[in-house]
Amino acid sequence: MAQIRIIKDRCFECMACIDNCPSKSIAFEGGKFIIKDNCNACGVCISSCSFNAIVFDEGQEIIQRKREYRGVFIYCEHENGCIKDVSLELICKGREIANQLGEELSVIVIGHKIDNIAIELTYYDVNKVIKVDNSLLETFNEYLYVDVLEQIINVFNPQIVLIGATKYGMALAPGVATRLKTGLTADCTELEIENETGLLLQTRPAFGGNLLARIICPIHRPQMATVRPGIFMPANKEFERKGFIEEVPVIINKSEKVEIVERVAKESICSSNAEIIIGIGKGIGKPENIPMVKKLANKLGAELGATRAVIDAGWMDCSYQIGQTGRVVSPKIYIALGISGAVQHTAGIISSNTIIAINRDKDAPIFKIASIGIVGDVMEILNLLLDEI
């Protein structure tokens, strides 16, 4: 367990640490600070010190152990022989982070008959592709995949592991992190390396996007995060192969405990991969106006979404809902038609590249996050738009 150390030269003896310590383990006696045995290194004193005078005194053992963890590892998700976009985005971001740390970038790919995917991955700017190919791993099964990923991580001891915050990624990552007894930050929208410490700063929205939290994992390794799709730029293919493929032997026990009985692909009503999404708000006036919006969507090759007010009114099916309690989307362009811009809704669209809003109320909150706005009647503009295309 890490201990706390007070750097004398920086300390102004303000006693804020003593006041804030939840376990009352800091005392000031005879002009000296004493850290008592009941200190559990919770770190509250560190954040309470205005003078940066308190640090984790990690001890040789932890510093040594941390040094043994090296490299940035990306978990590559794939489907029907295609690499998922989010994995390419992670390769791009991972490369940036690895360069900053002066370490290597590796990609892990798990599945069955994945030679082509592994080869394709070597054409990206990665140092190594780690492959585990086994017929038991043909379909995603968290019970087996957690085991395999844990074993891989234990072979290579990376210091950072990034996984796409897809449905499967969110099923896999917490299992692995719990096995490794390390920290995991969910659904990050920003990642950077802190200059002074080399720690991974992981930013994620909380409370429906009303608040952003920056999370660190100071002592445990690896530092793990799932990352929201569509936030970072995808990596570009290089002309020549850069990485090499390494197959790692892992033990896979055929287990009857969890079995995927069937995988069914269904037509997605509104996949989050759309380039343009048109959001329908209560301001379109009546459900009879929706076909007009559909017409515009068809012309633009866009998909539809809606606010909860629209769903609650029964104008559209609940699968269209975007926002805190609906889907999160990140298209190139989000067109908000008659949407007021409540935080619960904007939580779901905030990572769109460009938001275009049409609302007759110049002060509507949607204009605070939109980059292009029209103040006017939405149906009038809609009619004109249809004429223009």
């Binding site: 770190g43 992190a177 952003l212 009985v261 980059s371 009038e380």
Partner: protein
């Protein structure tokens, strides 16, 4: 079928207050509600009990006032409720929370199924269901939006993936995290309220649980909230000028430009 449902207290609104020193959410003076997703978890458990009999117990880790919400869970039909509460649990991240809840679940006795909500409305990670599964060394399934079949030994569920859905079968005991809207939660009944009045909420602290305090609370949490901030949107909206017709034209121009 003996089922345990995990319930968390979350703030009533999205207006949050943070301790400026620890950056930990101040839950003390906030009137909480049952995490909305956990009501689906409870209802799903009740539905299974209605068919097969057995018990539904609820468990929560939280501040003492959470007992009030556990009473509500009893009035909704739960048979028993346990609150894990101890100052040492304060500041737990999902790893520490999973550890503490697992210890509580073990102490509660035999169970066949644990049901969690998919994620909480405040922190919202969806980590705790899998965390409990791994800690107790039993299978977990997340994102369940339909239970197709359940027997004494297995459960078969439907869960969404990004492009469709999986039908997945697991041995019991196991943990499932249920997606929102998997069912329509029932209302509190008069009998339920009477029962809740009679029911004593058990409260266990760290000693009674026999947990290692170094694995609880902030001390047992690998992650730290370094800082929190409200997102600032520097973007200033550019309002398009001219007649509606000109504006419409301009939008089309922009869309074409932005698309490539």
């Amino acid at each position: 079928m003996d089922i345990i449902v995990c319930i968390k207290q979350v703030p009533n609104s999205n207006q949050v207050k943070l301790n400026s020193v620890t950056n930990v959410i101040e839950r003390g003076d906030m009137k909480g509600i049952i995490n909305p997703n956990d009501l689906f978890a409870l209802e799903e458990a009740m539905k299974i009990k209605d068919c097969f009999g057995g018990t539904v117990k609820v468990i929560s880790m939280g501040v003492p006032s959470t007992a009030f919400l556990l009473k509500k869970a009893v009035s909704l039909g739960a048979d028993e409720a346990v609150l894990l509460s101890d100052p040492a649990f304060k500041g737990s991240d999902t790893l520490a929370t999973s550890y503490i809840l697992s210890a509580g679940i073990k102490k509660m006795g035999k169970f066949d199924l644990i049901i969690c909500g998919q994620h909480t409305a405040d922190g919202g990670t969806g980590h705790v269901g899998p965390g409990i599964g791994i800690t107790l060394n039993i299978p977990y399934i997340v994102n369940v939006n339909h239970i197709e079949n359940i027997s004494n030994y297995t459960i078969q569920c439907r869960r969404d993936n990004d492009t469709g859905y999986d039908i997945i079968k697991a041995h019991l005991p196991c943990v499932i995290s249920v997606a929102k809207n998997i069912n329509q939660p029932r209302f509190v009944s008069l009998n339920g309220i009477k029962k809740a009045r009679r029911t004593q909420i058990k409260v266990w602290n760290s000693e009674e649980l026999g947990v290692n305090k170094n694995l609880c609370g902030l001390a047992g949490s690998p992650t730290r909230v370094k800082e929190t901030y409200t997102p600032c949107f520097l973007q200033t909206c550019e309002f398009l000028e001219g007649s509606p017709k000109e504006q419409a034209k301009e939008i089309i121009n922009r869309i074409i430009k932005l698309k490539c």
